[in-house]
Amino acid sequence: MAHPLQRQAEIVELSPVGAYHRLVLRAEGIAERVLPGHVVAVAVGGPDSSTLMRRAFFVHRADPDEQTLEIVFSEQGRGTRELADVRVGGTLDIVAPLGNAFPVPNGPVSALLVAGGHGSVPLFGLADLIRDQGGSVGFILGAPDAGRLFGVDRAKELTPDVLVTTEDGSYGIRGHVTLPLAEAMKAIGAGVVYASGPLPVLRAVSETATSLDVRCFTAVEETMACGVGICGVGTCMACVLPVVGDDGVSRFARSCVEGPCFDGSRVRWDDIGTVPPDVEGAAAMDLSATGAY
């Protein structure tokens, strides 16, 4: 994982983008360390805040020349409501970069990038990286409605291969983001699929890609960044999900340290929210007990 730094970041810009907020932060020495898929953990409300957990966000853009990081977030709870209210010129305590970035092949590849809602945030930097290696990208961007899509114009600047889905049909194809998935994979001859967004999207994309024998990398957002908040350090152990290791043994992996980018075929999507009996250390658990034990 990346070696995170803690910084008092200057708030450079806060502006609305569709249903979301765009926040630009300036902090020394961080932008050059950030890769697509990395996370920044933001402390909300200053040193006396009654909101103790950091909020974790994918980095949208990192500009080493300007020393800036850009995040895009939706107001979902106490923490993000406070963040939507910060003043330009003030500071925020951040820890970044966190976690493991998207693995990228070191040669040309045709990649399909799939996102639900503003899960697309880390995918544009990823697209740049893939194109820099001589590869090409296609996008499927989905959301409940047109207002909650993010980055459609940016995707269209990068490639003509952009499909958009909305559940209410207010933009593009009516349906879930996974509806045109198999067809799109075939159309661009996808050698790899990257997905980011809510768990049901990641699970469906992983299943489809795996069944077509195509590598799939997923960036988990819900276990970490959906206003639940995490420590952003890796010690609180709250953001875990069951993942199969290289040795074939399943373990609870932390989204903020071992993730947020996981090989989709290794995540036990159906078992999230449970203690699978074969996960390492499950035998010692008395699952009928309540409380902290």
Binding site: C231, G234, A238, M285, G291, A292
Partner: protein, 326 residues
């Protein structure tokens, strides 16, 4: 006319002697440690501060066998606090001794190892395996675990069960290692539990473990944690923790309990928070949940406590211990 304000000559912070009494007659270079469960095994925290500069690091509770921890959701944010049902995930004592302790030793950390089990002999097994281990300076016995032989009630809830665990650990533990009993506030009389632990041979007390709490999700209409209830931590519980330390220290001053050092914890976020615990009677302080907000908090709290002692004219940390008592 009397003035309630006491005027003291402030001292230079650098001159304050932060040497902290530690159980068994020993000392640590300073009173600050991490609260068990909030600092992992140190690897993550080491990225934000040199572990050797802390008085000690208290590691996540370790048990004889590896534990996966509980199902998610494991944590809920509460006003100025956190409710957790993490479930003591851990690698098991064997792996811990082999891999984690050696890593900590290489960094010069002084380690207090938090141990637990579901039966008295499981606590003892952990203690035994920690004899002659590098870097270990003490054991902290997490008595908040359910006692499998007593209907799953916490060892910490009853003077007799707390006594038996501490006695068993003290019997087999390396005599050079002080044994601390970590007490829960969810009891009728914390001084009764403290007394039983000290009588059983505890060299120190850690106070407090998390009180039990609960959050219900008003959208799903169900408990927020998979474990239904969980342990509450953070500044929300600080007054409860300060009260517990004060009561037990008062009982020691009154001669009802043999005096042993107390490590105070529960919502410490600043040096002044730590000072409250010291004034109540703690000679050690642990930073826990604050780490999740500010990973550099332990060393910051140490610096702030030093400043706060100097500003109040205390030349030594020990001069302030229990100062709030009449």
């Amino acid at each position: 006319m009397t003035d309630a304000t006491t005027f003291v000559a402030p001292l230079d912070a650098g001159s304050v002697d932060m040497t902290a009494p530690f159980g068994g007659g020993g000392t640590l270079p300073n009173p600050v440690t991490t609260a068990s469960g909030c600092a992992g095994y140190g690897r993550e925290l080491a990225k934000f501060q040199p572990l050797a500069e802390l008085g000690s690091i208290t590691t996540r509770t370790i048990t004889p066998q590896p534990r996966s921890g509980r199902a998610t959701p494991r944590m809920a944010e509460t006003p100025s606090g956190l409710l957790n049902g993490i479930g003591l995930p851990g690698v098991g004592i064997g792996h811990f001794v082999e891999n984690e302790l050696s890593w900590l030793a290489e960094r010069g950390a002084r380690v207090v190892v938090s141990i637990a089990g579901e039966r008295v002999d499981e606590f003892a097994e952990c203690a035994q395996q920690l004899s002659n281990s590098p870097a270990v300076v003490g054991l902290e016995v997490n008595l908040a675990c359910p006692d499998a032989d007593n209907q799953g009630l916490a060892f910490a809830g009853n003077p007799a069960t707390a006594h038996d665990v501490i006695q068993a650990v003290r019997e087999v533990a390396d005599p050079a290692l002080p044994v601390y009993a970590k007490l829960s506030p969810d009891v009728a009389s914390i001084t009764d539990i403290a007394k039983a632990c000290v009588r059983a041979g505890a060299d120190g007390l850690s106070m407090i473990n998390t009180p039990l709490g609960m959050v219900i999700d008003t959208d799903t209409l169900r408990p927020r944690l998979s474990t239904t209830t969980g342990g509450l931590s953070g500044p929300a519980i600080r007054p409860v923790a300060v009260r517990c330390v004060y009561e037990v220290h008062a009982a020691m001053r009154a001669g009802e309990i043999t005096t042993v050092p107390i490590t105070g914890m529960g919502g410490i976020r600043t040096g002044l928070d730590a000072l409250e615990f010291v004034l109540a009677g703690a000679s050690g302080v642990a930073v826990g949940t604050a780490v999740f907000h500010d990973p550099g908090a332990p060393l910051r709290v140490l610096a702030e406590l030093r400043e706060a002692l100097a500003a109040r004219g205390f030349a030594k940390l020990t001069d302030a211990v229990g100062h709030a008592h009449p």
